[in-house]
Symmetry: C2
C-alpha cells in the first residue's frame, strides 16, 4: 500500500500543501475549521505523522563521526564504505566530515561532530597536522577514538593501518624483478610516517638486490597529479638516467604517466611505473596503472570492529590499545610489465 | 610557540598519558597528590584545556546536513565542495551522509542529521525514492530544505538544477555536427526526471536535424560501468548499425569505451562516444571522454546561497520557492572527434 502523504490530503481538500502542513502542526494562522477538515481527512486516508523518530531518549545517539581528508580520494571513500557496512549492521549511523587535509578544518570537524552528539570518532587525520592536542582531548574526555591508515602511535587509541614499509618494498621489488634497474622514488616533503615507511621499503628493497641508492633518483614534494608531471620534467631536463618510477600514491603516478606520454616516452618499455593506493581510475587509464592495494574495505571493517569492541568494553583507554596492521597487495597492470616487452 | 599537550605534562612528571588525562578530569582513581602535581605542572607549562569549544548555547548549531547518494561520484563531491566553500565563509560546518542511492538509508540519514541538531538539510535524493513523505515532513516541521540536481518540484522547497534537456540536446547535436548519424542513447529504467529530460533533448536534437528516431538505438537499464559494456555487447551481437553512443552519465560511457576497445572497435573513428557529468576520470582515460559538464562547483555555491537566503528570511515555506537552473557546458575531448579522423 502506498503511504499517504500531505500532498494526498491537500489534493483531497483542494487546498495547498503548506496549509495542510501548518494545520497538522496546529499553526495559529490556520482556521479551526480547516484544521478539523485536515484532521478528518488525514484520519480517513490513514495518514501517519512522525516518520522521523526522535531517538533523544538515551544518552547514546548511535551516531559515529568519521573524519577523513577527502571523500573523492577513492582510498578514503572505500574505507568509509567498509566502516559503514559493519556499523549499519550494528544499528549505527555514520556522519562524515572532510578536513581537506587541513588540521584547522579538522579541529572544526571534531568540534562539529562532538556538538552533534556522536558516540565516538573514527579518523584518518590531515596531512598538515603537527600536534596531537585535539586527539588528546578526545581521549581525556573518554570519548572513543579509533585511527585508520594514519595513526598517532604516541596516543593510546587503537588503530588499523597497512604495513607501508612492506608496500614500499613490494612495489620496488616488483620493478626490480620485472627488469628495471634505475628506479626513481617520488615521496612527500611533509612529515607523515606512512610515506617515510614506503621510502624505507624502497631503500631496503634496493639494498636486498644490491642496487646502489642514487640520491638523484629520490624526489620530494607535495603529492598531486601536477607534482608527478613536474618530476618527469625535472628528471628528463636534468638528463638523469632512469627506467622506472615508484610514486608514493596514485595521483602522482597519473601525472607521471601523462607527462611520459606527452614526451613520447613509452610505458612500460622505456619507463615502468607503479603507484600506491589502488585508486579507482588506475584500471581505467592507458596504460593501466600497477599499484599497491591497501585492502580498503577490510581496513574499514576492521576499524569498525575495533571501534565496536572499544564501545562494548566501556572504559576506553585503560589497556594498551589494539593495533592492527594489514598486509598490502601487489596489483600488476600494464604500466610495469618490464622493459623487455 | 608550540602548544603544550597532555603528553608534555606526562613527560615532565614521568607518568603516563592516561594518568594525566584522568587527573585533569578529576577522576576518582587518581590520588590527590598526583592531581596537584599535574595541576601545578600544567600551570607551569602553560597548558590550556578545552580546545573543543561547546557551542551548545544558542538554539542554532550552525551545522548544515548534506545528504547525497555517494561521495565517490565526483559530481556529488564537487558540488559538496562548492557548498562547503560558501558555508564555511558564513561560519557553518557541513556534516555529510551518503544514501548509497537507497531511500531507506536516506530516511535513516535524515533522522540522523535531525537528531544531530542540524539547522537544515541540503540534498540530492536517492534514485529509488518513490514518495516524498519524508521531505514533506521536513517542510511541515519548518526545517530549511534545499534540493540540488534532483528536485521534487511538487514540494515548495527551493532547488538548483541544471538544464538536463539542454544537456541532452547539446550532446546529441555535437555528435551530429561531428558527422555521426546513427546515434545510440543509453538511458535509465528508473524514473528520474533528469534522465527523462536528457532523453527528450536527444530526441529533439535528432528531430531538429531530420534524423529519424530508431527505437533499436535507445537502450534502457541501470546506470553502471557494466551496463555500458552490456549495451555494446547487445548492439554488436544483434548486428545493429550504429556509429555513436551518448550515455546518460560517464560511468556507463566508460563501460562503453572499455567494451568497444576490447572488441577492437576504434574510437572515435568507427564509433563516437559522449557521456554526461564530467567525472574526474574522463580526462585521464584513453581516448579521453567527451562529456557534458554540470558546473558542479557553481551548483554547490548557488545551492548554498539559496539556502542562506532561506535561513535569513526565517519563514521558509511561505512564498513560492526559488528555482535556479544552470546551463550545462559541452566538453569536447578525443572520444567524439568525428568519423573522418
Amino acid at each position: 500500500m502506498k503511504k499517504v502523504t500531505i500532498l494526498d490530503i491537500a489534493k483531497e481538500l483542494n487546498i495547498t500543501f503548506s496549509t495542510v502542513a501548518r494545520a497538522l502542526n496546529d499553526h495559529p494562522a490556520i482556521s479551526k475549521s480547516t484544521k478539523e477538515a485536515v484532521k478528518k481527512t488525514a484520519e480517513k486516508l490513514g495518514y501517519s505523522k512522525n516518520k522521523i523518530a526522535s531517538s533523544l531518549r538515551s544518552g547514546k545517539s548511535n551516531i559515529i563521526g568519521v573524519l577523513v581528508p577527502s571523500l573523492d580520494v577513492s582510498f578514503f571513500s572505500s574505507v568509509v564504505h567498509g566502516i559503514e557496512s559493519i556499523m549499519n549492521q550494528h544499528g549505527y549511523s555514520i556522519l562524515l566530515y572532510q578536513s581537506q587535509e587541513s588540521y584547522k578544518k579538522e579541529d572544526k570537524g571534531i568540534e562539529t561532530l562532538l556538538n552533534s552528539r556522536v558516540d565516538g570518532i573514527i579518523t584518518s587525520f590531515a596531512i598538515d597536522r603537527e600536534d596531537s592536542t585535539i586527539f588528546e582531548e578526545i581521549i581525556s574526555k573518554n570519548i572513543p577514538l579509533t585511527f585508520f591508515d594514519r595513526a598517532l602511535y604516541q596516543l593510546n587509541a587503537p588503530s588499523v593501518t597497512i604495513d607501508d614499509y612492506k608496500g614500499g618494498y613490494m612495489a620496488t621489488e616488483h620493478l626490480i624483478q620485472s627488469g628495471y634497474k634505475k628506479i626513481v622514488h617520488i615521496t612527500e616533503t611533509r612529515d607523515l610516517s606512512i610515506f617515510k615507511e614506503r621510502l624505507k621499503g624502497y631503500l631496503d628493497a634496493l639494498k636486498a638486490y644490491n642496487i646502489p641508492v642514487n640520491e638523484d633518483l629520490i624526489l620530494k614534494g607535495n603529492l598531486s597529479l601536477n607534482f608527478g608531471k613536474d618530476c618527469v620534467k625535472e628528471l628528463t631536463s636534468r638528463g638523469i638516467d632512469f627506467d622506472a618510477i615508484f610514486t608514493l600514491e596514485d595521483f602522482t603516478a597519473m601525472g607521471v604517466i601523462q607527462q611520459l606520454k606527452s614526451q613520447q616516452i613509452r610505458i612500460p618499455e622505456e619507463v615502468g611505473v607503479i603507484g600506491f593506493a589502488n585508486e579507482a581510475f588506475g584500471s581505467l587509464v592507458t596504460p593501466s596503472l600497477s599499484t599497491i592495494d591497501q585492502q580498503t574495505h577490510l581496513m574499514g571493517q576492521e576499524t569498525a570492529q575495533l571501534f565496536l569492541t572499544m564501545l562494548k568494553e566501556g572504559s576506553f583507554y585503560k589497556m594498551a590499545p589494539q593495533r592492527i596492521k594489514l598486509d598490502p597487495l601487489l596489483i600488476v597492470r600494464e604500466s610495469s610489465k618490464g622493459p623487455q616487452l
